[in-house]
Assembly symmetry: C2
């Protein structure tokens, strides 16, 4: 079968938002000024756990320039809880940094000054500031309705794990820990709210506009159509802007102030707004001596912080994702999201995965070492086959895992380089059941001038979704990309989209927009057939025109022919659960190999070579895919080597750009390679599947295994700070 | 054939905007406050014709609170001419009231104060302040490129008019005049403009948002998508808000002020913004003694005022509409729109029709009298048959004219009452080729909660378009009207619609929305068939649900079934010239009979009985149709008996609610009846055709014929003020 020739898809076309981004023309929420807008600041709790006896805001309210001060009493007419958290602290503060009051003033300095004038009468309560403290007997109860501070729990069971271990010939058991880390999107969270009689308009750095719309409608008793979410460009999301963050607080403040209000977080504010779950994972794996995995038991605790957000979902994913893409007959995993008196955790690129895949892939490497089997061979032996189920009620593996691992082995020159004397080289595999909700609706409108505007609720947050959607439309209609405009999400205008997250946009919104373009194409062909007096099947689309033999009718001419001036064509498309029938819509596949060199005197790890392999199904924009995969790898390098949110006495002590250490350019591996696997077997347009998160999960186990294989020291706790590595090397040398 | 049963269509459902209107919740442009908004006022020329030597705005600019003063020099970077007029007077002022400068200030008083501080150096020019003055030899030239001050000219020719008159057995020739009148929409014109880097947002009381969008884009060199027109409710239009009025001026002012600006006209401002063309019509009609019309010649002059607006179109319509709905073998009509130094005329309910139909129907009555034929019989004899062409290049008559006239004769008890001794009863017929441009696109979206939002560019200006569109959707989808929301026009959101005018919305937007609803229905049926495991054809829609046998699936459940939560369905529909192939899309039919009593001592006319007949094809909302027809009749009563804009020395002297006399409640005829003819033969949904303008045209000739038949005095000049009638009676008594 000859391969289909693409003109737009599969090519690394320039980003459609590139010029606007590099010239500064692209506006982010913090850049926007709504006329009459006030500036808001949030007063945050200085205590990790405290009852709020009362708040005296009278001095702040009296400060000239202050228009409104918001406290819990101002939201007594609302349904104040969403995502398990209050719009603003009601009776208790549950972490240092929790919003207890907010000020709207004519300028930001006045708002800041007013914060100091608000007196909050706190009764300090005993705090539980970590997983251990929170699940210990007699721990302070953070939410009355969550005994044992358990926010959510998920168990996966299959076969009989006791029998499995009895049948196993080798059993390994270890405990791993993973730090709390911050997303570090360059743009901190920003929200502008305008409250009018008719409803509320919110500009926000939100990844999930339609979900925020739903929350705001519920909280304030509005119809969904009365809430308008407008999402300009996002300066990075990575999950930090998933679900509803503090949009309801800004809405409540604007409602009270009767003026538009903008709140732009500082980095320190955003670090206490959301973070990744820290985790402790106890893992027990039983195998046959030939390497066949027989049983796995996992006990996972995730530090959810003061409020739930999507903690229960993270636990649910972790309980499954710890199983890897392997055939395991006997399984029992327990994952618990735990309330602690820390800032709330939430979504973060590949929720629940890096924590447990660090553990499970490290484990597999330890088993390989113990059995004397090559780590790649061990994985190939146990991989799920295409179509095979990981566990019940989950759609079978839809990717060809060996093809990715073989690509990694080949690209990394694993066989040669890992066998070299003193080689410190490791590899790891990740396959995650994407959480993508299969509901996307899209619309395309072709105006009388022949240009096309696409209405898609996907949020452009640097991942390139507007470019990819433009390419899909361009390919379908065979029209130049620069005649296509993909706008931002505006819930008044753009049709419903479940979210921008879970690597879903190319696959799901891509399919919806492809169907919308096809709908419009049918209309064009009908017009073309009438105008050119041919059958629709005789028409070919080429460069924004319809061609039939010698005849050519541009799209613009087609509209003119149809309407005689003015008019427009509308195409719509939607995608629902039918796309795959069961979930996940796709498995996201990422594998990587690392080579390191460790300075034994300082404990510093140098990552000398990293090869990442992503099975993208079909790369709509190869350069975009590579960019995302590299970004994900760098983020993985961050939590592996550097990043951790450090708490002392419940207080985050490294909240800021300087103290919170992320990878720098000189931390980029000297050899850094990404290879795309394109089996065209994904459910998205042209066989695409989701990517962009998979690149994150293999980094930590690949690096720790490289250290273990090269230096004989197995690190079980991240990040691999020089001090920690130095101490481990010291201890192993004894 | 059993008549189709309708549940929503054909019923006088309550207006969907009724509650919002009567509670004051409905917002008009003048009610809107955009944050940071300035208030604008326009400095108007005090001279009818003058060269502008210079403008000194420095004192006004120095006034505290003034943010910007706009003069011609501020628009030198634009294409300043639209609809034949400048954004603001460039080098000349051509009528008293023409905008020569505009101020934006923090409040309206400051803006008003600033106007007085602007010094304009005028060189007064000789003025031509009426048709006669303007077309006289040596008249001052108002526009250099319009010799003879002719703004537009239309000739209709058919057969050989000279031969026609030669073959005629009776020839009558008369001249009629029609006053300049004002629309008297309760809401004067209002505009808010916001200029940003990205483009311009304009809230306006505009009937034709997409046309205004196009003009603003052209003037300011923007792409159409950069211009967003948002149209709230309109407090009446009647054509006064057709095309572009002073939106560009407000945009230019906001651009200069760098702040949003609102300008709300006073009634006096609006009266010099647009009005109906005054007219002089010389008519010559030749007939056989049996009443057969043989030839017609007409010379029509229309007072267009200082700028063209749609004057040429009014002339074009008048040239055709003077022919009536009659078979005339030999025709020659000339209609000229004439520039004069008066405020500009423009669209007004049934453009060009009341002026010429007053003349032509009066003529027919005079002929009937001369020949001793009953006026109804004379008309029946000469009516165009269905399908018969009035003139070349015009779609044939699509209505059954005799059915309307017979309805009028029956309802008015013409045969009995007109024959009574001393009866002062007249009747007249009107048929106008609607100017409706057949381009409308519509979209309907059904949200996950089963409610439907319709996106239609039609402007709700009191005519009830949102109600009618709701009924059409409700009927198509068989869903309750209160689950349907029809929003206002917002060119960013609503698809293209040519205009709201020419009685087109029910027929054209109605068809587009019906097609959109059908598109959505197909999607629902597909879901229903899958969910209920039946064939789409086995499903009936009933009250917002799909029924198959015992099974019922509500629309909400259907969306849940389809998407599993969230999602939406989008239906779209469009209509283009194919709807009828040639123009007009429909003929608009209005007939009326009047009975009067004249106080010979005062000249005052009392209209004792008026019966109006409208052929609406199918009344989607009968009460709405009756309301519009009554409104049109009252408007006709206005220009027949009371209304006229009185100029003295180029100055309008009755600009205001008190001095400009419109019909009052006590002027409503004691017996006032409207009868709808429903032959279901229109091109719109369920056989509807446009209405709402037709009721206007028969009033003046019916009343003047009633006076003539009852009192022997034929009035040829409107309005029939007591003084004018008294003088005519006096003269005839001599």
């Amino acid at each position: 079968m000859p391969q289909k020739e693409f003109k737009y898809v599969g090519h690394s076309v320039a980003r459609v938002d590139g010029i606007d981004k590099v010239t500064g023309k692209a506006k982010f929420t913090g850049d926007l000024n709504v006329p009459g807008m006030l500036h808001g600041k949030i007063l945050r709790s200085p205590l990790p756990h405290a009852r709020i006896r009362g708040i005296d805001a009278s001095k702040a309210e009296a400060l000239p320039g202050v228009v409104a001060v918001l406290t819990a009493k101002d939201i007594s007419d609302t349904q104040p809880i969403y995502s398990g958290r209050p719009v603003i602290a009601l009776d208790k503060a549950r972490y240092i940094g929790e919003p207890v009051a907010a000020v709207a003033a004519e300028d930001i300095r006045t708002a800041e000054e007013a914060l100091a004038l608000i007196h909050v009468d706190y009764e300090e309560l005993p705090a539980a500031s970590g997983i251990d403290a929170a699940i210990a007997g007699g721990a302070p109860l953070i939410h009355d309705d969550a005994p044992g501070n358990i926010c959510g729990h998920e168990r996966v069971e299959k076969g009989d794990v006791r029998q499995g271990f009895a049948e196993s010939e080798e059993i390994v058991e270890d405990t791993f820990t993973f730090p709390m880390v911050y997303h570090y999107a360059l743009e901190p969270h920003s929200v502008i709210a305008q409250w009018t009689e008719e409803g509320v308009t919110v500009h926000s750095s939100a990844q999930h506009p339609f979900q925020v719309r739903g929350d705001i409608a519920k909280i304030f008793g509005l119809r969904q159509t009365q809430v308008r979410m407008v999402i300009p460009f996002l300066g990075g999301g990575f999950g930090s802007k998933s679900y509803t963050k503090f949009e309801p607080l800004v809405v409540a403040l604007a409602r009270k102030a009767k003026r538009p209000v903008r709140i732009v977080n500082s980095v320190a504010d955003s670090m206490v707004t959301v973070r990744r779950h820290g985790a402790r994972v106890r893992l027990k794996t039983g195998v046959k001596r030939d390497g066949t995995i027989v049983a796995r038991e996992a006990e996972i605790y995730l530090d959810t912080g003061g409020y739930a957000d999507n903690g229960p979902q993270v636990a649910a994913r972790a309980a499954t994702r710890v199983l890897g893409p392997y055939r395991i007959p006997h399984i029992r995993t327990d994952a618990s999201a735990v309330y602690t008196n820390k800032s709330s955790a939430g979504s973060f690129r590949a929720i629940g995965a890096p924590q447990v895949i660090f553990a499970s892939e490290s484990h597999l490497d330890m088993i390989a070492e113990r059995l004397g089997i090559d780590p790649a061979e061990l994985r190939l032996k146990n991989f799920l086959k295409k179509g095979e189920e990981l566990r019940a009620k989950l759609r079978g593996m839809d990717a060809d895992l060996p093809s990715s691992l073989k690509t990694l082995v080949r690209s990394s020159e694993w066989r040669r380089r890992s066998k070299k004397k003193g080689a410190a080289m490791g590899l790891a595999c990740g396959a995650t059941n994407a959480g993508a909700t299969p509901v996307s609706v899209a619309m395309v409108r072709m105006l009388a001038d022949g240009t096309l505007t696409a209405y898609a609720g996907s949020t452009e947050m640097g991942q390139g979704v507007r470019t990819v959607l433009s390419q899909i439309i361009a390919e379908e209609l065979h029209m130049p990309i620069d005649a296509i405009q993909v706008g931002g999400a505006d819930t008044k205008v753009t049709p419903y989209d479940a979210s921008t997250g879970s690597s879903r946009s190319t696959t799901l919104m891509g399919t919806a927009i492809q169907r919308a373009a096809r709908d419009l194409k049918q209309q064009l062909l009908k017009i073309g057939a009438e105008a050119l007096r041919v059958k629709p099947g005789q028409i070919q689309l080429l460069d924004g025109a319809m061609i039939a033999g010698e005849m050519r009718l541009s799209f613009k001419e087609a509209l003119q022919w149809r309407f005689g001036g003015g008019g427009e064509l509308i195409g719509h498309g939607d995608v629902g659960p039918e796309i795959t029938g069961s979930l996940p819509v796709f498995w996201e596949i990422g594998m990587g190999s690392a080579e390191v060199s460790v300075d034994k005197d300082t404990g510093e790890i140098a990552l000398t070579r990293y090869v990442s392999v992503a099975d993208v199904g079909k790369a709509i924009n190869p350069e975009g895919c590579v960019g995302q995969e590299e970004g994900a790898s760098m983020m993985g390098i961050g939590h592996t080597l550097f990043e951790q949110m450090i708490y002392e006495d419940g207080q985050l002590v490294n909240a800021g750009l300087i103290d919170y250490r992320v990878p720098r350019f000189r931390d980029v591996p000297a050899v850094f390679e990404t290879v795309l696997v394109e089996n065209e077997d994904g459910p998205g347009p042209h066989g695409a599947r989701g990517m962009g998160e998979g690149g994150l999960v293999a980094v930590a186990p690949a690096i720790t295994s490289a250290v273990a294989r090269g230096y004989g020291v197995r690190m079980r706790d991240l990040p691999l700070t020089p001090e920690r590595v130095w101490r481990a090397f010291k201890a192993s040398a004894k």
